[in-house]
Amino acid sequence: MAEDLVLDTAIRDWVLIPLSVVMVLIGVLRHFVAKLMRSNQVPDAKIVKEGQVVVRARNLRASANFIPPKSFRARRLYFSNEENGLLYVPKGQAQNAQAQMFSDPNMAMDMMKKNLSMIIPQTLTFAWVNFFFSGFVAAKIPFPLTQRFRSMLQNGIDLSTVDVSYVSSRSWYFLNLFGLRGLFSLILGEENATDDTQRMMQMSGFGFDPTKSLGAEKDSLDIVQHDWALPKFEQRAEAVLRKAL
């Protein structure tokens, strides 16, 4: 094990703690700003209708075993019928929905606002950290890493003999960025605006593509094997009542 550096207490007082406190406060601030700026979105009637159809189909799938086979088949036909079934959408309409999504000004603005509110504080804080807190060892991470991480973690430190565990404040910033998500979910409750990774995942799966979800529902509905679970019901009722007596 290499030498055990002893770092100045001033670094702890003026770098580690302020950085963490600032990040927590910025997160809280972002959450409340997002809450205040949330515009009143009038949901598009067509999209809501499609969503509800999907929910109905899903309910049918979940409780298929509780209704007699004939009525289950009748309902299934109602959904996946080729001509006027609710879930059957011709391929031509597929593109329309997405184009509509993009050109809808409200939706685009909302996405933009959410994007900005996430990126700007991060960028600003990162720039602030780089400007003020570079060029010295800030912390020691308790586990060893290979030499490859040196360039990533020890950005401002120009000595190559220092153990990779001693990191610069930039890596403390990143550690905070990822680690405080858990803390935010505890103190702000769910649905807080600081969960960046969730947002990023949503960004990548952009179009709420209604036709794809309808098609998926139709397929899964077609797959369901109906297993009538209630024929033995009289016996079961008898058993339960017998127990109660």
Partner: protein, 120 residues
């Protein structure tokens, strides 16, 4: 150390045990999953601070993390009264779900406590 009582609401029954057919109330199921998540996050933060103060390094620290997660699982199972099936839909949920979600918070607080106590 069973601090998860602070962050967990009483778990709600999500299925009726008298029925043979498993029938789940999805709202309650989701709320139970959230309880698990909160418990794990909270305990991983506390575990991180303890690991830092005790001076665990590298492998010992990660083993401690898994230990904390195991204790969380045991605590959750005990709180559910050992009848998992009336609160969750499978064993995997209670034991494995969210195992790694607390890891980043653990590492953060571990580093923090370790540095404050040992390096400075």
């Amino acid at each position: 150390m069973m601090g998860h009582n602070d962050s967990s609401v009483a778990e709600k029954k999500s299925s009726d045990p008298t029925n043979d057919i498993p029938n789940f109330n999805s709202e309650n199921l989701q709320s139970n999953m959230k309880t698990i998540y909160y418990s794990r996050t909270f305990l991983s933060i506390i575990g991180g601070v303890i690991a830092g103060i005790s001076g665990f390094t590298s492998l010992t620290g990660f083993i401690f993390y898994f230990l904390v997660m195991a204790i969380t699982s045991v605590g959750l199972i005990a709180k559910a009264g050992f009848s998992i099936h009336s609160y969750f839909d499978s064993w995997n949920r209670v034991v494995l779900d969210g195992f790694f979600s607390g890891l980043m918070s653990f590492v953060l607080f571990w580093t923090f406590a370790y540095d404050i106590v040992h390096i400075f």
